[in-house]
């Protein structure tokens, strides 16, 4: 009896200690975190625009503040602020893409008085900015695309009622070639509301395709997806339904295959792999896509090509009417493989995302604190969580 009792108790206790003690976890904090960048100044309103991961593992963030003013921030890899810079009010209306080129970071913005385009380089250590060039004839910049080799800027010419597209040289100091498409009507009111962040924001996008570019912008009395060849000459279009319908996200996959999101009034639709003809003249309504009734169509839709466990996937992010961000992950053939709802109760709005060096994702969101204070937020998703979403673990 004596030994049986002692053995039983010892067995239970040693087993329990073994279970509790044997699991070693090599978790690092930078894998998963949520950060909200707050300010007690209730007058401030932040609208995040773009994020890039820096060489040191941290993040560079471009944001609008108090309307069209510009706010820059650098964080470390855990989301702790390294520096912040509220840019001089002479430079406003940043195009919603941070340019990363040869290890340097740039942003495109507008002169507050002259309404022309400027490009600034950001000092990674201090956050100070240096003017790279001003483009005096390039009014109302709306979108920018850049990779290591090419940079494009889209703008609206308020005099000729044309949407213009320009390819810049590698130093971002001059225009190599330009193209333009007719809007046929003034969209200045729409653009003023867009630029000043006081009204509807349009999803201006430029993407490079295998034989030119595709961009969303004003064309032919509508908000359209327009294809241009490598000489920036018009080849085809999918016209929107006036300004209340059209393509609001587009990611070239290969050849004529694209991941697209389109909107029609309040409705949002996704097709992660559809065939578009760059030389057709068609309407966006004719692109088949699945409806996502819970998503806002007038808030940014973000589409990224990502890798999970070495395999390519397409990630589409939208902001739901139920306050969460919906992350949908598709195979490259367009099959939905997993979804995740991020956030609840407090409104999250997605603005940008970037795949991180640890194969996770960093989401740039806007958070509405206490129901009214718009703040920048970061939600880091780990590679393990991405695997869970697609059912690999």
């Amino acid at each position: 009896m004596k030994f049986r009792f002692i053995k039983l108790v010892s067995f239970i206790f040693i087993c329990s200690l073994f279970i509790t003690g044997c699991k070693k976890d090599d978790f690092k904090q930078e894998e998963v975190f949520v950060k909200i960048f707050d300010d007690t100044d209730g007058n401030k309103k932040f609208v995040p625009l773009s994020i890039q991961q820096t060489e040191d593992g941290g993040y560079m963030i471009l944001s609008a503040v108090n309307g069209w003013n510009i706010f820059l921030m650098k964080t470390d890899l855990n989301g702790e602020v390294v520096w912040k810079n509220e840019v001089d009010g002479e430079h406003v209306n940043a195009a919603p893409t941070l340019i990363k080129k040869q290890g340097n970071y740039y942003f495109v913005c507008m002169d507050r008085v002259g309404l022309f385009t400027k490009i600034f380089q950001i000092n990674q250590s201090s956050g100070s900015i240096t003017l790279v060039n001003s483009f005096n004839s390039m009014l109302f910049p709306t979108a920018v695309y850049s990779d290591e080799n090419t940079t494009y800027i889209q703008n609206y010419n308020r005099v000729s009622y044309k949407t213009e597209i320009h390819e810049l040289n590698s130093t971002l100091t001059g225009v190599v070639k330009s193209g333009m498409i007719d809007v046929f009507t003034s969209v200045e009111n729409e653009l003023v509301n867009h630029n000043s962040f006081n009204g509807r924001r349009f999803p201006f996008i430029i993407q490079k395709t295998s034989n030119g570019i595709v961009m969303t912008g004003f064309y032919n009395y509508s908000f359209s997806a327009v294809f241009l060849n490598s000489n920036l000459q018009f080849t085809g279009t999918y016209n929107g339904a006036g300004f209340n319908g059209g393509v609001n996200t587009i990611l070239p996959l290969s050849g004529n295959q694209f991941a697209i999101g389109k909107f029609s009034n309040d409705n949002q639709y996704f097709n992660a792999n559809c065939t578009l003809n760059p030389s057709t003249i068609d309407i966006a309504e004719n692109i088949s896509a699945a409806g996502y009734s819970e998503l806002y169509s007038n808030k940014p839709i973000v589409t990224k090509s990502i890798k999970i466990n070495g395999t390519n996937y397409i990630c589409m992010l939208g902001s739901s009417r139920n306050n969460y961000v919906l992350m949908s992950i598709y195979n490259v053939d367009g099959t939905l493989v997993g979804q995740k709802k991020i956030g609840q109760n407090t409104p999250y709005t997605i603005y940008d995302a970037v795949q991180t060096s640890d194969e996770g994702m960093q989401l740039l969101i806007q958070v509405k604190l206490a129901g009214m204070y718009h703040r920048i937020g970061l939600v880091k998703i780990s590679d393990e969580q991405l695997k869970e979403i697609i059912g690999e673990e």
Binding site: I12, D38, G42, N43
Partner: protein
């Protein structure tokens, strides 16, 4: 200051225990060797979390209330919860016993956070104070060696050992009011309340060491006693991977994520046990020869 209070309490209890034991001269001594006792226990406990690393959702230069303010020692009553379970002892000798007391132990701890915003455009100043209350319930498996300091019917004892906890369930309540004054009256109708399970944020297993003192009274066929133990958690209790997973939905709404903590806990409990072996010999008292 907190440690001083604790030390004073323990010393006072020890003196009391020895005083009672020594003033009760009796004709019987307790025969514990090879005896098995089975019983039950129950009581209250007070938790003092030790923050290993603090975490915050908010990154702000000017939100001082963002720092969590854990309940001070002087208000430890707010962290009171309870525990109960079964009590087994086996007498290795007349003085030393092996004690196994599987039970159910609930830990409670609280902290406060507060935030404010000043809006001079819309004159919409906002203040929010949150009281965060956590209740963590574990199945607990403590094993102790108990040293009985006397053989008399009133016997003080000292015990030390270890325990491991297996999580059963955990929940969190957040009480809110709009005045930052270091307190949230959750009985007030003006305060809001939110409740959610936080089980997914916790590790399933935890372990630690435990030590305590007590006093037993041995009757002919049962014993009754009171004991006080200090549980020193050795393991971090929150799962770092789940911290920001926001299973509760509180991350942005209440700007809350859990710190990494280890649990420190004082329990006070009543113990009632019965001898079970050998069955014909239930009387655990023997007449003293002296």
């Amino acid at each position: 200051m907190n440690k001083q209070y604790l030390l004073k309490g323990i010393l006072t209890s020890l003196i009391l225990v020895f005083a009672i034991a020594n003033t009760n001269a009796q004709d019987y001594y307790v025969y514990r060797k090879n005896k098995v006792f089975i019983g039950i226990y129950g009581g209250v406990n007070f938790t003092m979390p030790e923050v290993i690393k603090s975490y915050s959702v908010i990154n702000s230069d000017n939100q001082p209330g963002n720092e969590k303010a854990y309940t001070e020692f002087s208000k430890l009553k707010e962290n009171m919860s309870n525990q109960f379970g079964f009590y087994f002892t086996y007498g290795l000798s007349n003085q030393f016993s092996l004690v196994f007391k599987p039970g159910y132990h609930t830990y409670r701890f609280n902290y406060l956070t507060s935030y404010s915003w000043t809006d001079t455009v819309d004159f919409m100043n906002t203040a929010k104070e949150f009281k965060h209350r956590q209740n963590l319930s574990y199945f607990t498996l403590p094993v102790l060696i108990r040293w009985d300091l006397a053989k008399k019917r009133f016997t003080p004892f000292i015990q030390v050992g270890g325990y491991c906890d297996i999580l059963h369930q955990a929940n969190k309540s957040i009480f809110t009011d709009a005045t930052i004054d270091g307190t949230v009256d959750h009985k007030n109708n003006l305060s809001e309340t939110a409740n959610q399970s936080i089980s997914k944020h916790l590790k399933t297993f935890s372990a630690g060491v435990v030590g305590g003192i007590g006093l037993s009274y041995y009757a002919k066929s049962f014993t009754i006693g009171v004991e006080c133990n200090y549980r020193y958690g050795l393991m971090n209790i929150f799962n770092d991977r789940q911290r920001f997973a926001d299973h509760t939905g509180f991350t942005a709404e209440y700007l809350d994520v859990m710190d990494q903590i280890k649990l420190r806990n004082i329990d006070v409990q009543l113990v009632l046990t019965f001898p079970v072996h050998p069955l014909p010999d239930l009387n655990i008292l023997r007449r003293s020869k002296y």
